[in-house]
Symmetry: C2
Subunit: 595 residues, 2 copies
């Protein structure tokens, strides 16, 4: 389908917007009037620039407060419209968006509205212009899409149709299935925007929090399916007002918008997701201090054993249960940091092809000739995501053990290494502020993860906003965070390791290497013990605890931070699905105090 986007959705001058939109591969644009008013180019020059870039001008918008007005106001409104038709002729735009009247002067009379819109359509026809009438969610009398359609049908003019906007429909809780009552040829335009569910004034919600399809909580695929079933054949057009996008790179935002439309189309086409990962193959850490240094020491203490060395690169494999960590001495990070995630993929080739179809940057296969080929894409924060089958392990020759206490010295170790840690439970990445919505869409569309809880957590120096996502079966869980904190406070990443018995691990660490555990304040346990009857040993060991409404329990502990990264050990009991978010502020405060 033809793909468009309103110029208001990306940042910059009109020229910059058009260039970014064209570069992202859109077919057309909606020219948002304020963007034109502030532009030094004449409408003819804008038209030529768009044409040079291969962009059609699919809509000019918005025209406000026109219909259902007293006769003395109508004359001025028609005069205003005539001027806009002239601009549109110069611009080469033949479709004008008319929003339902929000003025206190508007009259609640559908027949009057229809009569005046018919008059407007007649005038428009003289200029070769068509009118798309849209119900704003906060329209004074007309705020429901079926009401706008009723008026359009009443007016009965070939140059008058309706414009549907997913935000205006879904934010009011209207059921989009009624769209199928509208003949497709009378749906002149379709604007798409998603949004997070927020309890606030709908006008403010619309102006500041719209996002691209798949980034919020609305069912855009369901709505679009109804629009297509009605017979609509026009463009899918994004119209987003978003405070963050306003400040971000126009190129990147436009590309992300295009990704959202491609994902929506795939969803509509029933494209099954080839890439839903079946588990974590590995997590890769930059380790500037290799050979059992700080990171290796920490892993040893957690019961990991070095089980392999890469055939051609300075990378070690450390294992325990199904948890595999790569320590890469060649990664260019300067300090220990999470640089890559390997996902068990049922179809690595298909997965990377799917990622590529969604405009994710596919990474070059930089490796030695004899290495197993690995397919990878870059996540929005730069983390490399590898799609793996088990072949990747062939690159790692069994290594001399790094932890002599557990193994006979000198014996190469291939695994399996059994211990209390059974695998990787989840990985938490901190995103740059401007890419939070992009990250949500990436993990949802490229990896096929489903959104779970979204939270705001207090940090001593600000707020942490957090979104959790998981594979349908829970085999892969990812948490993306943004840290809205004061200057000078760095965000951390972490790997949460699934564990059979967190208390046992804590007991051993407390005895052997207590300095590796993040100290948890006694006041936390005073509160915990006020709320629940918990084993007093949790306090002695520094193990944190959470309980869900169904009696599921979560025991977890944190290591100290090494570079940008720390580890969490988590034990899920009785179907607990969360992440112990209530304890995160305690962790953040202790981490800041020690940073």
């Amino acid at each position: 389908m033809r793909k468009s986007i309103a110029t208001v959705s990306v940042s910059g001058t009109l020229t910059e917007k058009l260039e970014a939109i064209a570069a992202a591969g859109f077919d057309g644009v909606e020219i948002f009037e304020n963007d034109l008013l502030a532009c030094p180019l004449s409408p003819e020059e804008v038209r030529a620039r768009a044409a040079d870039l291969g962009l059609g001008i699919d809509l000019y918008q918005p025209f406000r407060d026109f219909e259902a007005v007293p006769p003395e106001v109508l004359a001025g409104n028609l005069r205003r419209a005539e001027r806009k038709f002239q601009v549109m002729e110069r611009l080469g735009a033949d479709l004008l968006l008319v929003c339902s009247n929000v003025s206190p002067a508007a009259i609640g009379d559908d027949e009057l509205a229809a009569e005046q819109l018919r008059l407007l359509a007649e005038r428009a026809a003289e200029h070769g212009v068509r009118i798309a009438y849209e119900a704003l969610a906060w329209g004074r009398h007309v705020n429901a899409y079926l009401h706008a359609w009723r008026i359009v049908r009443m007016a009965d003019h070939p140059n008058l149709g309706t414009c549907l906007d997913s935000f205006h429909i879904l934010s009011r809780g209207s059921d989009p299935i009624g769209i199928e009552a509208i003949p497709g040829e009378k749906i002149f335009f379709l604007q798409l925007a998603d949004a997070p569910l927020l309890a606030m004034d709908v006008l403010q919600w619309s102006r500041h929090y719209r996002c691209f399809p798949g980034q919020g909580n609305f069912d855009l695929a369901g709505l679009t399916a109804s629009v297509l079933r009605a017979g609509y054949a026009g463009p899918l057009s994004l119209e987003v007002f978003n405070d963050v996008f306003r400040q971000a790179s126009a190129e990147r935002t436009a590309l992300d918008g295009m990704r959202s439309l491609i994902a929506l189309e795939q969803n509509l086409d029933g494209v099954t997701h080839p890439a839903v990962p079946a588990g974590f193959a590995f997590a890769e850490l930059a380790d500037p201090d290799p050979g059992g240094g700080t990171l290796g020491g920490l892993l040893s203490a957690l019961g990991f054993v070095r089980t392999g060395v890469h055939a051609s690169k300075p990378v070690e494999l450390w294992s325990q249960g199904e948890a595999r960590l790569l320590l890469n001495a060649g990664a260019d990070a300067g300090e220990p940091a999470l640089v890559a995630i390997g996902l068990d993929s049922p179809d690595p080739g298909g997965a990377v092809k799917h990622a590529g179809s969604l405009l994710s940057p596919v990474l070059p296969r930089e490796r030695a000739p004899e290495d197993v080929p690995l397919d990878a894409v870059a996540a929005p924060d730069g983390t490399e995501i590898f799609f793996c089958d088990t072949a990747w392990l062939a690159d790692f020759a069994p290594a001399a053990p790094a932890r002599l206490a557990d193994l006979t010295p000198g014996t190469p170790v291939a695994g399996p290494i059994t211990g209390p840690i059974t695998g990787i439970d989840h990985v938490a990445l901190t995103q740059p502020l401007h890419y939070f919505d992009e990250a949500a869409l990436f993990y949802r569309s490229v990896l096929g993860l489903r959104p779970q809880e979204s939270l705001e957590l207090p940090d001593p120096y600000g707020l942490l906003r957090s979104k959790a996502m998981s594979a349908p079966d829970g085999a892969v869980r990812m948490v993306v965070n943004i840290a809205q904190v004061g200057a000078g406070h760095l965000p951390w990443q972490h790997i949460a390791l699934a564990c059979d018995d967190v208390v046992a691990v804590a007991r051993r660490l407390r005895a052997e290497q207590p300095g590796l555990l993040l100290p948890i304040p006694g006041n936390y346990y005073d509160d915990l013990e006020a709320r629940y009857e918990v084993d007093p040993e949790l306090r002695r060991l520094g193990v944190l605890y959470d309980r869900d409404g169904d009696g599921g329990e979560f025991l977890h502990l944190y290591t100290v931070t090494v570079g940008r990264v720390f580890f969490e050990l988590v034990q899920r009991v009785g179907g607990y699905q969360g992440y112990g978010a209530g304890n995160a502020p305690i962790r953040l405060a202790v981490q800041h105090a020690g940073a």
Copy 2:
């Protein structure tokens, strides 16, 4: 009155918070439970630290979801309370805030609520603790302050009283005059928070947008007066949840909170404002390129004449009508920038004393011995604010004219210089993000300006948030902005000059020095002419236009930007009180394109 603040109101660890709060001069604190839970100090250590800092612990808060529950829940709640009483004993806190129950399990039965709160008060009494019961605005059954008081009276226990919170009262639109029905000794605590008027879910509004008294739109003085009339003798305590304060400096936030309480007290005491300025005495610009360079050239073109030279500093006085601009070659700004504002003050000494009483940094009088003394304070963004009578002009000897075209060469000029510009209409300053609320309070409390409109304006690379303030008679108008824009886009300051005939000035500049005028896109005029019947000359000259609902008109133009600063010429017709905000996005787009 005793002054307190909740630890949640400022950023940092609990220790950092206490230090900042003590440094700002508070008498006590409310310990916010989460701050204690995350603190490595024991309650006894926190108590000692507070005592060392001279801070009393006036309240421990909050205790949630206690009252009006089924019997099986009550037992657990009492157990939880017992643990908290123990913590409070260790902490040396004797007052516990209990918020009205928000749980779905709560029962809408006032007698049950009263009975259980009475039981809680009895238990509390055994620990020397008192209970302050507060109606949360989103409480499940109890969400109005008079309802909470009704339950407290019904429970009738000396250790049970009510806590009043201005946000919970005013956000619901409750009339605070009913507070006078509560005996003062049963008001155990008073929490104060202001807020901007926002149409959103009250819980989110409370958690993210509270601010200090005088920074928002609530009538805190009226509410506090009712509380005092009721006989309350406890502390005035600030409790603010604010996303910006969370990220800002604790020291600065605490000081600003103290300023808000002092201003509130002055307001209650009927302290009349000694410093409301009668006009702008001058605006001072850093001019690294003196002697009729870029800034001087621009001023000459606008009809200003150099009328004085400072006796001991490299500062020139440029005048036209009542507009006086100082060009300071010695200011340390690196580029042309607005560095100081002089205000005509009926009582400069009183004004600076008043500013000092509100904790504004009074600036040292750095000047040569023979100079006229000048009183000045620093505004939150660092701009110097001088309080002047006319004596300051004595420092400036008449200068040789800088604009020969208008005056006889070689003749020293003392003024008055008449021209189309009659004075300074307003000054617009861009604030650092974290000091926007502080700036609003500063201009309101220190200068006695009244808040006018608050706006959000689209910028090509973000949003501009803007607050206008003015003296009651309009003689002094200030606009403070914050620019929430992407990296690399600098904010600008500007001086708006009142003008009798903007069109005449534009005509002359267009003919003589068109490069000094900010070019306004033709598309702007296409739209303007669609909306209003305006003189086509506005388009030729680049004069912008606005009209208010009462037929007041505003004609204005902008100069190009020099360094960080530009000039606006404004002509107000028919009582227009605004700032042409609708045209600002056009200006911003053109400025960015030329930057």
